[in-house]
């Protein structure tokens, strides 16, 4: 079936409201970019979830990274992270002031940076979910193997399952989950089965093309009332995922509590370096004290990430809060939900 037929089918079969959460920021952006909501029946209510690693990154991490800069260290990080505000400043503002912040696209670029800055203390500030964790883990492993001394890692890596459990026990309106295909590539589709088995909510694992997403919505709306669990991204996702990637995660990391911006600390919802790699943990190496502050404003990113509010229901949206003056990380990250609504979601024509 092509996209247009799928849309027709969805609109014809759906008689009552269904609330579907797409967990992943990339899905949210694609939905908005395609203008999906302009062609789907109003009965399909698409809610964005917490699957953007930048949006849920702890403010305390940014604050610590800023302290490290003041201490003459170099911070290397991903593009979106430089714009996220800590309690007082952002890495972008620090960079403008002359502190050394290097933006990279892939953690693999770290090798070059270390080679070219041999006399500097380099800290990689990394965020991500299970998707990014294996690459970061393998970089750390290689660093240890080659006995690199001038690099350490300030990591805020999150796990998808604990936050989903948290959401599903708080938000009871959700009828179906569009689960993130790239996380599933690593973890395997079985990782998400608890959604259907424990929480009695249908779940479709989806890729990122228009056809993938529409198939997910079609499937979840078609079987309303009847529980379904399906992997619609089987071209990339195996039931047990990618064993190599899972192994390297287990080799380098251990599960730990993690702090979710606006939400708080959630048990075992993150990864930290295990004892064998503690020399590479910046927190350990420099005795950093991460204080999980929240920025004192009325940004309701937390409610948005839990699917309890839409960006358009935030009183600051578009009025005070926009990409040049983001109050919350949801307006910063290219995966952020508020940014997606800002970019694609006004009236047209």
């Amino acid at each position: 079936m092509d996209e247009k037929r799928l849309i027709n089918e969805i609109n014809q079969q759906i008689k009552n409201k269904v609330n579907l959460m797409e967990v992943c920021g990339t899905h949210t952006h694609e939905i908005k970019r395609l203008g999906l909501e302009s062609v789907l029946s109003n009965n399909v209510n698409l809610i964005s979830g917490p699957g953007c690693p930048v949006c849920v990154s702890s403010c305390g991490m940014i604050d610590q990274a800023i302290e490290c800069l003041k201490d003459k260290k170099t911070i290397v990080t991903f593009g979106d992270m430089v714009k996220v505000k800590g309690t007082t400043s952002s890495l972008k503002e620090m960079k403008i002031k002359g502190y050394k912040v290097i933006v990279i696209y892939s953690p693999l670029d770290l090798f070059n940076i270390i080679r070219n800055n041999i006399d500097e203390e380099i800290i990689f500030l990394g965020v991500g979910f299970e998707t990014t964790a294996p690459v970061i883990a393998s970089v750390i492993k290689q660093m240890k193997k080659s006995n690199q001394k001038n690099v350490s890692f300030l990591l805020d890596i999150k796990r998808m399952k604990p936050i989903l459990i948290y959401i599903l026990s708080k938000n009871h309106k959700i009828n179906g989950i569009v689960a993130p295909g790239h996380v599933a590539t690593i973890t395997g589709s079985e990782y998400f089965r608890f959604i259907t088995e424990d929480y009695h909510i249908s779940c479709a694992i989806c890729g990122f093309t228009s056809l993938d997403i529409l198939s997910g919505i079609y499937y979840l709306s078609k079987h309303k009332g009847k529980l379904q669990f399906i992997n619609l991204y089987s071209r990339a996702v195996r039931p047990n995922g990618n064993p190599l990637a899972k192994n390297i995660i287990n080799e380098v990391f251990e599960e730990s509590d993690a702090y979710w911006r606006g939400i708080g600390s959630i048990k075992y919802s993150g990864y930290r370096l295990n004892s064998e790699y503690k020399d590479y943990d910046a927190i350990n190496k420099y005795q950093l004290n991460i204080v999980h502050n929240e920025i004192d404003n009325d940004c309701c990113c937390d409610k948005i990430m839990l699917g309890l509010k839409k960006p358009t229901e935030c009183k600051y949206f578009r009025i005070i809060c926009h990409p040049n003056n983001p109050l919350g990380p949801c307006m910063v990250s290219s995966e952020g939900c508020c940014l997606a609504y800002y970019k694609y979601g006004r009236k047209y024509g």
Binding site: F78, N324, S334, E335
Partner: protein
């Protein structure tokens, strides 16, 4: 000397050697032979006058280099106001230690691009700054073009929007280099002077209401500018916007929307709808023009100044202005 040093910018005999044996050797013409501090040019008509600075990295990229870009960019800006480009100025700011071989390569490329564009560099300047104060080499060019008659006209409801070829090639080639993506690619930058369009432009000039080149910020930014400046609503159709498959793939990988990625050798025309089909057919016959396409229209006038897209699945969405730097996504 195989490197450019601070002495090359001091104005003494070493400077003179650089100017005579390298720069003037390439750009030789009657105006430079005047050996005056300013070129003297006879102008009897209305002129177009523009300037731009070029700080691209890398200096050499697949399909061009900073020199070709510096000539093309200014020539193309002159063309957007329906002028015939004639004369350029050229200023270099060079970092101490810059390889003479690279400098000569850039000069040669500028010379060749000038020949292609039928323009001459008639005045210029060279400064050398201490190592670390600049990044390699920067170029500024200004240009003068002769205007026959001002053909930029008000836009009307129903006007058709045409692009002269496949978009976002230049910006994508630069992205691949910047993020060191190890990809086997066939695409090269589209960087070139647009004089080759003159024949078609002259044929249809009464029907062309506006021409603009989608450089920095790409098509998305340009259409937003047109919409705001002219108070018009613009409608574009996703399926008709020509992007090479590799352009789509690279940008998808990086999480960047190619609508906002630059072209350096393309023109966007807003034309009367009656001539649109015929004009596109003529554009398609030009070298590298096979992907020329009608991409949208002026939907209404004096309503909202917005740009929206009919997406490939039949949805609608806003094409907003770019708010910040283009940065790739994380995962």
């Amino acid at each position: 000397m195989d490197k450019i040093t601070l002495v090359h910018g001091e104005g003494g005999s070493v400077s003179e050697e650089l100017i005579q044996n390298h720069i003037k050797k390439q750009f030789n013409n009657v105006y430079l032979k005047q050996k005056l501090d300013s070129a003297l040019i006879d102008v009897s008509k209305k002129i177009a006058f523009t300037t731009d600075s070029y700080v691209v990295k890398p200096l050499f990229f697949s399909g061009g280099d900073i020199g070709r870009l510096a000539v093309s960019g200014t020539v193309n800006d002159l063309m957007t106001v329906f002028s015939t480009p004639l004369f350029l100025s050229c200023s270099f700011i060079i970092e101490e230690g810059f390889e003479m071989k690279s400098f000569n390569r850039i000069l040669k490329s500028m010379k060749e691009t000038c020949l292609e564009a039928n323009v001459e560099i008639v005045t210029g300047d060279t400064k050398v700054v201490p190592k670390g104060d600049a990044d390699g080499l920067y170029i500024n060019t200004s240009g003068i073009g002769m205007v026959d008659k001002n053909h930029v006209k008000p836009l009307e409801e129903g006007d058709t929007i045409i692009v002269s070829g496949s978009l976002a090639l230049h910006g994508t080639v630069i992205l691949v280099d910047r993020y060191q993506l190890k990809m086997d690619m066939s695409i090269t930058s589209d960087c070139k002077p647009l004089n080759y369009l003159l024949e078609v432009i002259n044929k249809y000039k009464d029907g062309i209401n506006m021409m603009r080149d989608p450089t920095r910020g790409g098509l998305g930014t340009l259409l937003n500018e047109i919409s705001t400046q002219n108070k018009v609503t613009i409608e574009i159709n996703e399926e008709t916007i020509p992007f090479h498959d590799e352009v789509k793939a690279v940008n998808e990988l990086l999480g960047i929307d190619p609508l906002y990625v630059s072209s350096e050798g393309r023109m966007v025309f807003v034309v009367k709808s009656e001539i649109a089909n015929e004009m596109v057919n003529d554009l398609k016959k030009l070298e590298d023009g096979e992907n020329a396409s009608i991409i949208g229209r002026i939907k209404n006038k004096n309503r909202d100044s917005i740009v929206y897209m009919n997406t490939k699945i039949g949805g609608k969405r806003i094409v907003g202005a770019l708010d910040d730097l283009i940065l790739p996504r994380i995962c």
